[in-house]
Symmetry: C2
Amino acid sequence: MASKEMKKNIVLASGTFDLLHLGHVKFLEEAKRAGGGNAKLIVIVARDSTVEKRKGTKPIMPEDQRRALVESLKVVDEAVLGYKDFNLEMTIEKIKPNIIAVGHDQTGIEKAVRNLVNEKSLDVQIVKIGRFGKEELNSSSKILRKIVERYRR
Amino acid sequence: MASKEMKKNIVLASGTFDLLHLGHVKFLEEAKRAGGGNAKLIVIVARDSTVEKRKGTKPIMPEDQRRALVESLKVVDEAVLGYKDFNLEMTIEKIKPNIIAVGHDQTGIEKAVRNLVNEKSLDVQIVKIGRFGKEELNSSSKILRKIVERYRR
């Protein structure tokens, strides 16, 4: 028993991570915790083109810098850019996660993951991560708003 | 010889670290490298009140969040908030760094450190860290400008 290799859970999380803030770090920490003490956390960082298609504007920080910054966090084992055409099935096939963590505001991704997991009967647990604190500035859009209001004059 | 404990350099770096970006991470990585493979990197994160006194406005992100975000970086061993009245001598006495790293744009801090080290004949090496890359968005003020320009409409 003692010689049996401990199974290492692979947790997959994703996001844009524009204007990195403490809410992002707490989301990633909670995601990793869902995989247990020995888990490996792999983070998919959304491409500029994917964000532009979804939200109509590119992120403030370019994709390479967003990816490198996320990978420089203690909690992150590996950060990779998403597929150019965001492709959930290919991502899951490549990374083979046991757990996929979705944030409280990632309802679109959550739905897509649930559909795919059901359809293909994948052995993947979906874990929903709560919102963190009531503190101000735990979202990129709130940070943007504060900056714009301050410098509007 | 083999049993002799290897001396661990303590590197001290400081900054505001508002709107954390890759330039900050590269500055901190280079600072730690200056202390050799075994170095410990301690980062002083400027208080909101100190920044307000110097620049006339508070940072966008509050001090607790800036400190916690800096400490969540792989390269950082410890991040602490500065003294309420920024006091260089007390900081150095408490942390006992072998090396103080200053950024290319920290000329005020550099001068103050040099004066104190000379005056007190402290055994501290001052290392100046270069600017990173010609890439866009490696400074908080450039990021602010981009945001304000985009959302001005």
